[in-house]
Symmetry: C2
Subunit: 337 residues, 2 copies
DNA sequence: TCGATTCGTGCAAGCGTTTGCACGACGGTC
DNA sequence: GACCGTCGTGCAAACGCTTGCACGAATCGA
């Protein structure tokens, strides 16, 4: 009455050909002669045939679905990526299997294990498990990493160097001399990467590691107030928002007492008061690119690719020029820049 | 070398039994004798056997996955539901197929069509397509609705009456007399439901319909400022945040010039300035319940169920007592209440 | 004009499960 | 002690599709 009643055989019958011919028309049309092809297509359309995924997979063809793992779908950053991937999948007639790993390495691996064999490939966002574990789980199922790099594995990541440099430079341009940069959890590749960048910069006050969440941001605010930092680059927007909340709670004001730059540019940042200056990431693009890479890998284009996506600065209202006196003592002992 | 190498047959061989026996141990253990059962379990564990989804489905058994459709995964409200469902799935050894419908009826239906036959059941969040369309697509695949009701279909929804009443009552308790309630898009069941509640209330200024997003909230702020409304219940938190932004941009202040109550209690609300007073929805519970319902339906417990989830008021700082004079003119002509 | 290609299609063997059926062994009843 | 139910397990047929192989027809070069 419904649910997958019409099969390949039905179509074949209707078109007066062999089932295998129908199959070929659908998967590799160039093998089939023009007249037959149109006849089959007509029958497919008339009967409303939809291939059975399971059967297709079982027979050894493509599965037609890709697995996506994210640390936390509740995080708008990942939600946007997922959305982009899903839209791409839809346009390509694929389906997406999603698993939320709760930022735990074991969940990551067990999630992948559960999906392995039911997907053509994996897109994994900010994984924390080590690559040896990953390899053993996915075997030779294509795999692309988002915001993480690893030898011999395709990946797409934000330009972490640019994030740090853009944020810091903006603060410097505003005259800030004592600039803080917040480190993230070392489990993240992005954190480690930024650390490396930070080390190459002069006159930076390194803070953290601090968790990339609101509460941690609030806690960090106290530390900031006790320091001479006048401008800070947070690890991400949520943390930045936390810093702002901490200042507010203490009766201090952003950007008057502290200039804050976030990173990612999530929607909540644009809605905050004042709206958050941040380093905008092409989040959508991250998803789109990941999908492209995995499709390419699935199609057999074996080359591994490491794509780096550029970021840009979005200036809103949490940053302002440093007060005359502020940071002077640092300027005295620091880099004239 | 990996990727689903070990099959039922391998396990059977290792355990010295017939494949069908292994299958039964895994699906209906009570049919099999104790000694055999343990032997099989041991072999399964030792070999690290993972059933092949496609084969299982093809053979007519359970698919082991459920399809979830959301209007917008980027919306934290839905993201949280998805997360809850996914965790439940994981615990039950199921997988989740997610599709984002972009709030479009056609995407909803075509998404469902693509998934039909690959899932044991559907969980559909706030669908806008009509139920006739749905029925024709899903056939007799189990279906549960989240935040939408329909005859003869299991569903779980928030108590829309309570949302409106809680919000309005809070404002009344604070002495507000000219209270605005914002309607949402009529495509949503929740909107229509709230409309019905609003009609039963006296002395309410009905606003909208207004889209449940930030921009629309900003636009609404102008209208609000021109009115005599001193307290407003927004359709959801994001819209409420928009209203606040609109006031701020106009140099007015919340809650001084307007008390605002949101609805949903998303994370961004707690992080706003001032933090948003809102009607808190048990979002997690929404997902958990939906999963329970669908599992029950899949298991064959045919009864359709309409669950209503209670909400509660979370008072933060966007509401305050009405100024003495405010709303007097309304009190004059309005209900003494 | 004939052999060698190429092209288009049919055939059938799987892919890994589930499940209805059958069959042997065992224990209890008259 | 023969008979019947029960219980535990093996057997084999499906599920819907893909794909290597084979075979006849059409095409081309010499």
């Amino acid at each position: 009455m419904s649910g997958q009643a019409v099969t390949l055989a039905d179509v074949a019958l209707a078109a007066g050909v062999h089932p295998s011919t129908v199959s070929r028309v659908l998967s590799r049309p160039q093998l089939i002669g023009e007249p037959t092809r149109t006849a089959v297509h007509e029958a497919v359309a008339r009967l409303g045939y939809v291939p059975n995924r399971a059967a297709r997979q079982l027979a050894g063809g493509r599965v037609g679905s890709i697995g996506v793992l994210v640390p936390d779908i509740t995080n708008p950053f990942f939600a946007q990526i997922v959305r982009a991937v899903q839209q791409g999948c839809r346009d390509a007639g694929q389906t997406m299997l999603l698993a939320d790993t709760d930022q735990r390495a074991d969940e990551e691996l067990s999630g992948a294990r559960a999906l392995a064999g039911s997907v053509d490939g994996f897109v994994v966002c900010s994984p924390v498990a080590d690559m040896k574990g990953w390899r053993s789980v996915v075997g030779d199922t294509p795999l692309v990493l988002v915001n993480r790099r690893a030898n011999g594995i395709s990946s797409v990541a934000l330009d972490q160097r640019a994030i740090v440099e853009l944020g810091v430079q903006h603060l410097r341009d505003l005259g800030h001399r004592t600039i803080g940069v917040v480190r993230g959890p070392t489990a993240y590749w992005s954190s480690r990467e930024r650390d490396r960048v930070i080390r190459t910069l002069d006159g930076i006050t390194v803070l953290g590691p601090v968790a990339p969440d609101f509460q941690a941001g609030i806690a960090l605010a106290a530390e900031l107030m006790a320091s001479s930092v006048t401008g800070v680059l947070a690890f991400n927007d949520v943390q930045a928002l936390g810093i702002m909340a901490g200042y507010r709670a203490a009766g201090r004001s952003v950007p008057h007492d502290l200039s804050v730059v976030g990173s990612d540019d999530i929607a909540a940042g644009a809605m905050s008061d004042p709206p958050l200056t941040t380093v905008t990431a092409p989040v959508q693009q991250l998803g789109v690119t990941a999908l492209q890479l995995i499709e390419q890998l699935i199609a057999g284009g074996g080359a591994t690719d490491e794509v780096s996506l550029p970021v840009s600065l979005t200036i809103r209202r949490t940053t302002k020029a440093a007060a005359r006196g502020a940071g002077t003592h640092l300027a005295r002992r620091g880099e004239p820049q």
